[in-house]
Point group: C2
Chain length 206, copies 2
DNA sequence: ATATGTGAACGGCTTCACAGCC
DNA sequence: GGCTGTGAAGCCGTTCACATAT
């Protein structure tokens, strides 16, 4: 059931290809070459073909790829885990913005609930996402079989909350807290550290 | 003046070390071993030492590193570019949340202005950051010698705005728009694609 | 004894070159 | 002729092993 054969980076890029294909589809494009798609995705054509190679063969030589077919193939490869329910923990400034961010839904994710130690209903106003006190989190995760969580709590709380998430059964965490989380190795974490992104960029300006 | 010798990833990690050291300093820790610091930063001790090796020698064998000295050394290596002024373009949900996000300031960055095609003053209320109409952006960048920008506009606008930024003199862009930006190679871009982060994570849950 | 600094080995990802197919 | 598919080569970053310093 698990398919760890894909390198982490390839998985990431396949997601990007997926989105590019979506746009092509909206524009009723039927066929695309590795060169065109690669350019849209910001990678080299060979890279793209290698990545697709991990997953199977979908192209027609001399012609290119059928947009529809390829999109389906990638979806199949990445798993239809896309419709996973997600919870968000930490409804501060960032957290509440993330709730309003339409990108998640657009990519097939639904944030089904949010949690905060001090639940301020105003923060979720207009999002349609229910907000619960933190104490209810673990039960909720267990009873709703939630496997993914977005973590946007202060750095000082992050590890504690992560432990709760893991204990309750969460297997993947998108972590916005500026801390390195210590989790079991069967739990996957993607870190998005806004300040560090900016800081590391600043090095390159002359 | 430019120092491209450091691999991009090393720069990123050095920023992380920097922050860990800051915390140690706050707790009046004077000395730290590569093992301890590495653990805090979520890397292997050898990795840490390699990274520091890019920059110089600061440790005392058999003892470890002096927290104060090391912090200064890293700051020097990364450049005191940290106090760079930054502008934010696109004050939607995400953009306005980023303005409120304290993490940037904490790491030494100041967002000195924001821009939006339809400037709604409410969006920046309480942030102390001025909001200007998009037309004024290029002049502002040039006259204030802005080198860094945070881009949080819709995907459809991203490339256009990026072109304007580059033309006006911006050299580094932190891009939150779900698009691959096409920029000259002397312009550095860090992409933060929230939906893709989540999607690529979802692959790993069983 | 303990912990750093670093050349060498390793591994994985990217790119190349070209064979294969339409 | 054009474009995909893929083994081989190349490259970069990580890890190892150990020499070196206190």
């Amino acid at each position: 059931m698990q398919k760890i054969e894909l390198p982490r980076k390839a998985v990431y890029r396949l997601s990007v290809y997926q989105r590019c294909l979506q746009r092509l589809r909206e524009n009723d494009v039927e066929t695309v070459s590795s060169e065109a798609l690669a350019k849209a995705a910001g990678v080299k054509p060979t890279q793209l073909r290698k990545d697709l190679g991990y997953v199977g063969q979908f192209g027609t030589r001399g012609l290119g790829y059928n947009v529809e077919t390829l999109a389906e193939a990638i979806t199949a490869a990445l798993g239809s885990t896309r419709l996973q329910p997600v919870i968000l923990v930490g409804v501060g400034n960032l957290g509440s913005a993330l709730l309003r961010y339409s990108g998640f839904r657009k990519e097939g994710f639904e944030v089904i609930a949010s949690f905060d130690r001090y639940p301020i209903k105003d923060r979720v106003k207009g999002t349609g996402v229910p907000l619960h006190p933190a104490e209810e989190m673990e039960d909720y995760i267990a009873s709703h079989a939630v496997k993914m969580a977005i973590l946007a709590v202060p750095a000082t709380e992050a590890q504690t909350v992560a432990n709760q998430l893991v204990r309750a059964g969460v297997q993947a965490i998108l972590n916005f807290s500026p801390t390195v989380l210590d989790v079991p190795e069967n739990v996957y974490v993607n870190n998005v550290d806004l300040a560090i992104e900016l800081e590391s960029l600043s090095y390159f300006i002359r």
